[in-house]
């Protein structure tokens, strides 16, 4: 490989390189070797003959004056049919210590952009078997679904339950992208899939939280590239799970800080919105196949108005918001029904009955919230008969939308259940019309359907 320049400055996440010629571009990858260790960097900024590059791994031991050379093809992923069942790092290299991927083609991870002509809509409904999700935020194929929540309210559990229900049911090809999350969870997901012999249709890409920000931000691109291959070349419907897309923005802000770029509020980079668009616009369905995505979104400091969270949610077709206040009451999945929504909540799409029931349920639950405050002061006995009815039925509704999940069997000790949307509609109607007024509210907790 031809040398293209020399290292001038080094800091934790930023290396300044003196270029010999002006033949490098942004997003080119350069490499150097020191003490038999290879270091790789991606160019993010060029100013005359000076380039700034971000290292793929830690730079401990690196020295000034080292010569760097350019890596052909930049950051690219090798792929073929054999990507399914395999596990990759952020830079597209298999890390499951198995055989290499054969008969491959290569794609640069940034190359694919979809134009408007290619985009295709698909209106087939997609049921997850999770009561609260199907009822309050029903999905369609090709949807972008966000699962928002603060720390420790159950985002990962919910995303794993969706993998369990949707992936197992449809068996479509799936890419799981772990971004800035726990390595333990990544390994456990892999182990579970392997144990159940379900790995054959899933590829995984991990850039987990212990890795440097460059690695965390690239995992998304590599994962998307694999999904695009399955859509464009294999012409299949693809599921992509991203846990957690917020970590992508977070990694980008770490890099921007090191490059001494001026940040916006809370230290996010000024380019945040365009960074997110660049990724989100690639997650789309074409004539060849659909991409349905589930994206976990971390809410920092429980602040849902956070700029990054808001910038991501503008791209979504639907969102489920998990709330600490609900989780504290032991209600899981801890869904905040008022902030949860979906573009399909429309009588034309889900039918009048479902639509009306959602509206009525929301009316009950919002009145319940108000009543809770009154009760805290006056007690239940002071309520009017009508309010008392709403109060008790709402508690039953709230309890009804808890669900024993397959993936938390270990924690709850109750066997997981999938519930058909038709059953949910019957049950909700029965609760609202008072069929179960005589039954204790605790009987509604953590079970599937009631009417059977």
């Amino acid at each position: 490989m031809e040398t293209v320049g020399r290292i001038l400055e080094i800091s934790e996440l930023n290396v300044k390189v003196l270029l010999y010629q002006n033949n490098l571009h942004i997003k080119d990858v350069i490499t150097c070797t020191m003490n038999e260790k290879d270091y790789e960097f991606e160019i993010v900024e060029i100013e005359q003959n000076i380039a700034y590059a971000i290292p793929f791994e830690r730079v401990t031991g690196l020295k000034k004056g080292l010569e760097v050379s350019k890596k052909e093809k930049g950051l690219s992923v090798e792929y073929s049919d054999q990507i399914l069942g395999r596990i990759f790092n952020s830079y597209g290299q298999p890390i499951d210590n198995e055989k290499i991927i054969e008969s491959t083609r290569t794609r640069n991870v940034y190359d694919r952009n979809i134009n408007m002509k290619e985009i295709s809509m698909n209106n087939e409904p997609l049921w997850t078997g999770i009561k609260a999700l199907d009822f309050f935020a029903p999905l369609q194929k090709g949807f972008k679904m966000g699962l928002l929540g603060g720390a420790g309210v159950g985002k990962t559990v919910l995303i794993k339950e969706i993998i369990n229900n949707v992936y197992k049911k449809f068996r479509s090809n799936t890419v799981f992208v772990g971004v800035g999350e726990r390595s333990r969870e990544g390994k456990e997901l892999y182990d579970e899939m392997e144990k159940d012999n379900l790995l054959d249709k899933m590829s995984m890409v991990f850039g987990q939280m212990g890795e440097n920000p460059c690695s965390r931000s690239k995992a998304v691109y590599s994962g998307l590239t694999l999904a695009e291959y399955l859509r464009d070349e294999k012409k299949q419907d693809v599921l992509i799970f991203i846990d957690n897309i917020y970590r992508f923005v977070q990694a980008k802000s770490e890099i921007a800080t090191e490059l001494k770029r001026i940040p916006v509020e809370n230290g996010y980079p000024a380019t945040m919105a365009s960074d997110i668009s660049e990724v989100e616009e690639r997650i789309n369905s074409t004539q060849d196949g659909s991409i349905t995505s589930f994206q976990a979104i971390y809410i920092p400091a429980d602040d849902i108005t956070d700029e990054a969270v808001q910038a991501i949610t503008t791209h979504l077709d639907g969102q489920v918001v998990l709330d600490r206040k609900v989780a504290e009451k032991g209600i899981y999945p801890a869904i905040n029904v008022f902030k949860t929504n979906s573009k399909t909540i429309d009588p034309e799409k889900i039918g009048n009955k479902h639509y009306d029931l959602v509206q009525e349920t929301l009316r009950y639950l919002s009145r319940y919230e108000e009543l809770e405050e009154i009760i805290a002061v006056l007690g239940i006995d002071e309520l009017s008969e009508e309010d008392r009815r709403i109060f008790y039925r709402s508690r039953k509704l709230r309890n009804y939308f808890t669900q024993p999940l397959f993936v938390s069997e270990n924690y709850t000790g109750i066997k997981g259940q999938m519930v058909d949307i038709k059953d949910v509609l019957i049950d909700v109607e029965d609760i609202l019309t008072g069929k179960y007024d005589e039954i204790d509210e605790s009987k509604f907790l953590y079970r599937g359907t009631i009417h059977e």
């Binding site: 400055e9 800091s11 020191m34 390595s183 800080t257 032991g330 000790g413 605790s442």
Partner: protein, 447 residues
Amino acid sequence: MNTHIDELISKKIEQIKTNTNVFESGKVIKVKDYILEVSGLENVAFFEKVTIWEKGMGYINEIRENTVIVAIVKQYEPIQVGDIVNATGEPFKAIFAPESVGRITNLFGIDLLTGNSFDKTTYIDIENPIVPIMDRREVNRPMLTGIAGIDLMYPIGKGQRQLIIGDKKTGKTQIALDTIVNQGIQRRDFGEDTTCIYIAVGKTKKEIRTIYSELLKRNALSYTIMIVSTNEDTPPVISLTPYVGLAIAEEYMAKKKDVLVVIDDLKAHADNYREISLTSGKTPGREAYPADIFYLHARLLEKGCQHKNGGSITILPIVETRGGDITDYISTNIISITDGQIVLSEKEFSKGQKPAISYGVSVSRLGGAVQNEKMKALGTKIRRKLLSYLETKEVYELANMDEMTPELREKMREGKRIQEELKQMKYCPLSEKEIIDKFRELGEENE
């Protein structure tokens, strides 16, 4: 230009001839608290150890075009502009002595109780690459704390990272110490061999001495290393100490051993790191913490794992909150890294409930996976009953007891008893069997 280079070269040759400059050296040109700018060190590596002539020691924190930035870790005398800085050609490493078990030490391998260094020491890398995903294994063996409220309902597994979070004086450190002491009982009764590492982050000397004597009194020092930084250490030392503690833990894990690491505490660590970042001119983000504050703790806590070789590192990080708010920036960051949290509340503490665990908001993400069958079955029942009691209590607090349904009255009575039974004094660990005996009756379904 030419004369300047000639001058430089002849000077260098002169130095080599007279042997005055065996190592490469440079000069301090700027001093800003514990951050130095040094010119003349052309051939140093990132994170290399440097010495400041007779005055201190530091490491290379940044390499710039004409100068380098050095963070000071040790200082005997005030450093001035013009002081000579020597490169050592080695990365900055911590010193560890295997005989420091039972002693208080720091990252320079000094026995702080005597002030001397240990006899046999080894250099260890401060930060190793994290254990790759494929070398990890499922966390499924219990790490018993001896505290019923934890072992039964929010169990901790070997290789788990369980946060202990709460306000000042709510017993956070106590839970960690109880757990360390209980490892001695596990060792005595069941032959389990867990090494404990207590890491103090910028604590006072008195606090550290107190913890030392508490552990000494309870024979917990034969298997415990205390690696500490006091509030007198320079911020770079305070910020590196937890990494060193974990690096030591990794040495044990590589020998297939189980390690329990307590980090006391990470809020202080975050504040300390913020100080370094702002001093070295990094852009502040949310609450003025630098953007990489999440990464700082993520890569530290990701060292906790169940390794496929059989060894494990369990981490109990401690975070101090203010006004019981666990939703501030640092707390939620760490909650999003750990595998669960034990929340301690001042309210419960002043009501006399000890340990002052706030059961509604505490979580263990691994749950029953790390418990034996009996504990798991009992634990899920007790937890469900208690949580449902706590939730109902809030709503029906003002309701008339006599008008309640008998079912509800029974639930309230039982919930209260569970809460009562969970009270436990410090250093009174219960074994799994004792916990099961105590709660068996309460776990029975009464339908």
